[in-house]
């Protein structure tokens, strides 16, 4: 490689400056293989550990795989995923729709910020799990209580991130807009809102992760269907492998949701220069 480089009268590029040893590991294929290898290694360790324990304590990957088939056949798995996803999507979207405007207004109008700050600063330290019981008492055991808890999870993260975004808008851009003739509301909509989009996306992604956290606790306490209740039901049957199915499902679901959000962001919001 190095001899080739000296013979070729080319300008130094990123590729030729990379050391040959690391070059292979930077290719797309190698990155994929590395990821797959890591997963395979994890499965192997799990398998070996499971040899030493009872299935009730630690079910093997094989047993878990069979449990996936079992739960898929009778429709439980799909139904659980559907129920949990629907609740997350409803609560999360509502949280964005409400949280973003609140954050914009709180960020822009310092009076509103001072007015609402005590509540934001108080409630953001109270985990949604603490409200599960209250949600059921107030909103009943139906969908509303679960959606409300996801909404609660989302709204603070999104609001706080949006406020941070509004406060960090470059003073220069605000001055530019003002001297080009933009009024206060026009500035809010045409400069501050677009400048804040990267922060909103960060908030939305964090909130998505936390929504998974919340949904499981909410469903364990009060739900007939859902991934959380599936995990909880497994206890009654002594089916530890169902717990594993639930956990793996949550991980894959969360990963997929995040990927979808990232994909949409990259496609639609490219011009807002969001690093994802």
């Amino acid at each position: 490689m190095t001899t080739l480089d000296t013979e070729t009268p080319s300008y130094p590029s990123a590729a030729s400056e990379t050391r040959p040893a690391t070059a292979f590991f930077d290719t797309r294929l190698a990155r994929l293989l590395t990821g797959l290898f890591s997963v395979a290694l994890g499965l192997a360790i799990w398998e070996m550990l499971s040899w030493r324990f009872q299935p009730l304590f630690l079910p093997s990957p094989q047993l878990t795989f069979y449990a996936v088939g079992e739960l898929w056949e009778d429709g439980t798995l799909l139904q659980s995923i559907g129920a949990s996803l629907a609740r997350i999507m409803a609560g999360w979207s509502l949280g964005l729709v409400i949280g973003i405007p609140i954050g914009m207004v709180m960020g822009y109008f310092s009076f509103v910020r001072r007015l609402l700050d005590p509540y934001v600063e108080f409630f953001r330290f109270i985990p949604p799990i603490a409200f599960v019981t209250l949600a059921v008492i107030w909103l009943g055991p139906g969908e509303a209580s679960k959606v409300a808890l996801i909404l609660y999870t989302t709204i603070f993260i999104v609001t706080i991130n949006t406020i941070a975004g509004v406060l960090s808008v470059s003073e220069l851009r605000l001055r530019a807009a003002a001297s080009l003739g933009a009024g206060r509301i026009q500035t809010l909509l045409t400069v501050i809102f677009p400048s804040t989009i990267p922060y909103m996306v960060t908030g939305a992604r964090l909130a998505m992760g936390n929504s998974f956290l919340t949904i499981v606790s909410a469903e364990i306490v009060a739900a007939q269907v859902g991934v959380g209740s599936m995990i909880w039901t497994a206890r009654n049957y002594g089916k530890t492998e169902w717990v594993f199915v639930g956990i793996i499902t949550l991980g894959l679901l969360g990963y997929t949701c995040d990927r979808i959000v990232r994909f949409i962001v990259q496609r639609l919001l490219r011009r807002y220069a969001i690093a994802v």
Partner: protein, 283 residues
């Protein structure tokens, strides 16, 4: 000059300059005085360069006229009206291209002011194209600011300001962040564009050659804090100017001495200037 402009005259030059007037203006932040007792009258259509060492309050004066900053005392007016905040009659070209909106295309950036003013889509698209053409960017309308070089971005800023047809253009070291070659090209461009459109320009720089190349008048400032005007030089060299002209060279050495003495004063005040430093360093 005294006769009112006919409509034919107006259509010839898109912008019509307005006078800028600062009367006994001072700015202080608490005990910290930035500028004191500034009197400045810029004639309509005049190109005035404010020249001074960094930290002397040049930008403060520009911010006053732009309306970003109220004076602590004194009066600021543009076009005969007192300044109470920013307005589209006073366009600002900032040093940093951060001022552009990176999520809008070049064309959309230039259209921004007209869009805020409620100008119909077709009209503002045509106007934006005209001004992009004026700054030599007619080919780049659909590109994003992030894809452009520093010089091109400053051209976008200039077009974005001029499309509003402001009577006053305020330029705050607009080429300070550009490399020397691009800067020279842009200086010639600004001279050409100003002669084509004739707004009043208040141009801030610390580059003496830039001031000589562009200004009808060059005002030097004393070192801050508590800065004020030091000298005012009228530049009578015909445009487009050659910096090799004897008059230019003479003016350069005068201005250099003016600025140099202020810089030395600042350094002495900061304890950074010792006498005969070369010998000490050698020993």
């Amino acid at each position: 000059m005294n006769a009112p402009l006919s409509s034919a005259d107006r259509s010839e030059s898109a912008c019509t300059g307005a006078a800028i007037r600062l009367e006994r203006v001072s700015v202080a932040f608490g005990e910290h005085r930035i500028v004191s007792d500034i009197n400045l009258h810029v004639a309509p259509g005049e190109f005035v360069c404010l020249l001074g060492p960094s930290g002397c309050g040049k930008s403060t004066l520009l911010n006053l006229v732009a309306g970003f900053l109220p004076p602590t005392s004194g009066k600021v007016s543009a076009g005969g009206r007192p300044v109470h905040g920013p307005g589209r009659d006073r366009g600002v070209v900032f040093q940093s291209t951060e001022a552009l909106f990176p999520w809008l295309t070049v064309q959309e950036n230039v259209e921004y002011g007209l869009r805020m003013g409620g100008v119909p889509r077709a009209v503002r698209a045509g106007a934006a194209r005209r001004y992009l053409d004026l700054v030599g960017l007619s080919h780049a309308g659909n590109r994003m600011p992030g894809e452009l070089s520093g010089g091109m971005r400053q051209r976008v800023q200039i077009a974005r300001v001029l499309v509003n047809e402001p009577s006053v253009v305020l330029m705050d070291e607009p080429f300070g962040a550009l490399d020397a070659q691009t800067r020279e090209v842009m200086q010639v461009e600004v001279d050409r564009i100003w002669r084509a459109t004739r707004p009043t320009i208040l141009f801030i720089t610390h580059d003496i050659w830039e001031a000589i190349l562009l200004g009808d008048r060059i005002i030097t400032m004393t070192a801050g804090p508590d800065a004020t005007f030091k000298t005012v030089a009228k530049v009578e060299i015909p445009r487009p100017r050659e910096l090799t002209a004897p008059a230019a060279l003479k003016l350069y050495s005068e201005l250099r001495e003016d600025i140099g003495s202020e810089v030395r004063r600042t350094l002495q005040a900061q304890g950074l200037l010792r006498e005969a430093p070369a010998k000490e360093a050698a020993a």
